[in-house]
Symmetry: C2
Subunit: 522 residues, 2 copies
């Protein structure tokens, strides 16, 4: 049911009408990914995969600068490995893909069946995460304190059997990186945990243009087997939280389970202290929901697959050669500019389609800049520039040399503008709340009658006494969880100085040392 | 049993003593990879994985320059997809990992068992290759001739259940890239097949420093489901062939099986023409066996994880600060040099170990250059340089500025020297053979008494009538196969002008239009 008063947008429905469906439509319109015939698995299409490649390249550089090396461990994990760490079993050994046979043979009805003679003695699990298999390797690599610290990262696919899936946000198979490190002291392992949380925070803010609040999870929300889990939490435009990354201090739990033992300088034997940390293709879902609008994807220039598309506009066939020559020369000039560690990346779209259709296609794909060049621009040595962070019809004529000379600063301006916009949104919809009735109302969507957006208040900064019962009560009654105990990522926010206030638990009224972030979440 | 006349080498046994065991020892001594507790799967360790990262980066650039885009498709393939292409089933659906359950539960004896209630309706296979799952995606992406060509590449892990495995050469799980393209005409798909074979040839020669002969496979050696398979074949130092890469023209076989159909300009409907092409972590095995020597790994500088290691030599603790300051400044100067698309990559090894031990460790790891700096070098503003392509004791003093100024040309010299050495070896051990008795003798190791190397003649360029019976006879009697019908990669070889001669089949004597490459192979 179209509402007559709604201005026409490229994406239907709008965020306000039906946020969940808007998300799916943005993914589809930008040609990022699609569901596959294999239940719960996605196909990541070239434009979506290119975003992941940019995420990988920048993070990989940051990991290497902090002393980590990449390696690769087996996809399959023996069932017995998962059984070693008790908490880990409960968290991961349940919904997973189990390999039981190593051969197919022709069945009685002509099709293929698993060969009963090729049943594995011990079933193998497709890794849901690799602590156990990497722990087994570390146990043989680490003999002495001289072998520590061991700083390893892996880029890999993992699998968790999910019942309800959504592209990028929750899929059975996804791509990620998992850092795994071992240290000789608790202090060093804790320092590593926080260092990598810092890397993720920097990446979220500087590359994803996404403000994040960081801090430890509560015990209920910890990674199975971890002593402490730290996370970065971002606010989406439906005001729900999305966890962009986690860093775990694993204590000696996994080194005990895997036998990662070393000889100290004093010739005693000790268990190593380990950490693990990861981000996944979920970050692409986070990017979409943080920045996109009712016309489709909006991408931070630092992670965009391309920065600018050049769109030739012909007036009859005779204008083509001059326009294309101008466009090709312009592309060459632009590609000589460096934006961050990359060159400025240019697409030329000379397809024989209507100009308006092409414009809208690139708007929906979220390319930062669209540049039209027609015969008059060639004569005037000019270009017509449109920015994705402005209205879809807004264009400005610029002398060609000015555009070439300023494209890097335009992109930087867009990047910081997107961060500021997301920051203002997050700060506006984050509120210190001390009253339980106000708390309940904050998390209750104002209206479910006219739309399916169900947009509620956002992040509540409220007091919590530390009792899991109070936490569980909020989760059960409102589907609201404690995202983290904030340690940073909110400096300068209007409510920043109220985070560390002492107060009374919003549920039970007992005393509380500081506010925590309550939110609905993905 | 050590032979008194053998000079001491870092690797035991030597290539001449036991080639297969020498290979395993080189992998171990260079710390490239190890077997994992999961049968047939390997752990790729940081030094080995860094070689793969270099291979990936260079190939990825070449793929993108030829218009391909990366994407990602599901790990799991429904059994029914494999059943679609008859030849493909026979080749791939047999020895593979079969997922039958999606949950583990506590079993009667306390351990975990696959949950009988969570059996999948249709078993899923871990991809042995992705033609069928990518074909299904292409079928929905391609509607019109305007959607073609579709030029996609995927970097992924794949799995084939292998009984006898060897690190890098044959493992159940391995890493690879698989290109998949669809075209509107046969001619264009054939051109793509040859273009990517050309990319692989260039990569082998210019990056791997490995000469390769290229051409089509015989029908018996084709990829299951392909119309034509082309390959690049290299000679290892035991004179066996190793296939470094393949490029397949799939005709319309897979588009028929998957339904990749498009509307032509003339508004008729046609099946697309497809190709696929791939290389894998096997290339690392190929690198090792082509270049390494009895002191361990030798790496072509363009793929080496690092180009130079700086080794401080201290005379007492008081010399440390000056030496380390000099080393750090030198590292900075070296890192400012560009070697190909990379910076010169420098390791500093200041570990508190004996200098000789450190030297040998880096020799075994195959780093191209080792540079010692002691107090006297600091005084003389000089360095002591050792090259991996010279004897392990050979060192030359050089003024520091000369070394910094010439490191790139030294590395280029080593790179081309390695290619020339491998080329001379390949050419020397390739021989036109027309007599069946000579052919048999060529493939029979001279002596099995004293050693286990079993080194035979090499590549025989012999005539073949085209009859699969003659091909099978040679395979059954000598374990020798036709590696390819050579089309190039041998210009300038002493026997080059004899390849295209007409002649008589070495087995049956019938007429043959040209010689083919017969060899034992990995």
């Amino acid at each position: 049911m179209a509402k007559p008063e709604t201005p026409k947008t490229a994406i239907t429905p709008t965020r306000a009408q039906d946020y969940a469906e808007w998300y799916q439509q943005v993914v589809r319109a930008a040609d990022l990914a699609e569901n596959s015939p294999v239940r719960g698995c996605m196909v990541i299409k070239p434009w979506g995969y290119a975003i992941w490649e940019n995420i990988q390249r920048e993070l990989d550089t940051m990991f290497k600068e902090t002393g980590h090396k990449n390696a690769y461990f087996p996809l399959l994990i023996p069932k017995s490995f998962l059984e070693k760490e008790a908490a880990h079993v409960d968290g991961f050994a349940k919904e997973c893909a189990v390999v039981t046979h190593h051969r197919l043979v022709a069945g009685p009805n002509g099709g293929l069946i698993p060969d009963p003679k090729a049943e594995l003695e011990e079933p193998l699990i497709i890794r849901p995460t690799s602590e156990t298999i990497i722990g087994a390797a570390f146990a043989s690599w680490v003999q002495s304190y001289r072998d520590l610290p061991l700083l390893i990262n892996q880029w890999a696919n993992v699998m968790r059997w999910e019942l309800r899936t959504r592209l990028f946000l929750r899929t059975a198979e996804f791509l990620w990186q998992e850092g795994h490190t071992a240290h000789s002291t608790e202090a060093e392992a804790r320092e590593e945990t926080m260092k990598m949380l810092g890397v993720y925070t920097t990446f979220a803010e500087e590359y994803m243009a996404t403000p994040v609040i960081y801090g430890p999870k509560t015990a209920a929300e910890r990674f199975p087997g971890a002593v402490d889990t730290f996370c970065i939490e971002a606010m989406m435009q439906d005001r729900k939280a999305l966890q962009d990354g986690t860093s775990h201090f694993l204590g000696q739990n996994f080194s005990r389970a895997s036998g990662i033992e070393f000889q100290t300088k004093e010739e005693t034997r000790e268990l190593a202290w380990t950490t693990s940390w990861g981000v996944s293709t979920r970050l692409i879902g986070s990017l979409i929901m943080t920045h996109s609008d009712d016309d489709g994807l909006v991408l931070p220039p630092r992670l965009a697959p391309a920065h600018v598309v050049l769109l030739p506009v012909f007036r009859g066939d005779e204008s083509k050669p001059a326009v294309m020559e101008y466009i090709n020369a312009l592309a060459k000039e632009l590609r000589q500019q460096r934006f961050g560690e990359r060159r400025v990346e240019v697409e030329i779209d000379a397809r024989d389609l209507r100009g308006g259709d092409k414009q809208w296609e690139w708007i929906k794909k979220g390319i930062p800049l669209r540049v039209e060049v027609g015969p008059r621009d060639v004569e005037a040595n000019a270009v017509m520039v449109a920015r994705r962070d402005r209205g879809p019809k807004e264009k400005a004529a610029m002398p060609r040399a000015d555009f070439v000379g300023s494209i890097v600063s335009i992109l930087n301006d867009m990047q910081s503008g997107m961060f500021q916009k997301a920051l203002a949104y997050r700060n506006e919809h984050t509120k210190p709340i001390d009253d339980k009735r106000e708390f309940d109302a904050f998390f209750t969507p104002k209206s479910k009658v006219e739309d399916k957006a169900e947009i509620h208040g956002g992040f509540a900064l409220s007091h919590w006494c530390g009792d899991p019962t109070c936490e569980a009560h909020v989760k059960d009654s409102l589907k609201v969880t404690i995202r983290c105990v904030p340690q940073g990522g909110y400096a300068g926010a209007p409510w920043a100085d109220r985070v560390e206030e002492q107060g009374a638990c919003v549920v039970c009224g007992k005393s509380s040392p500081q506010r925590v972030v309550f939110a609905k979440s993905y």
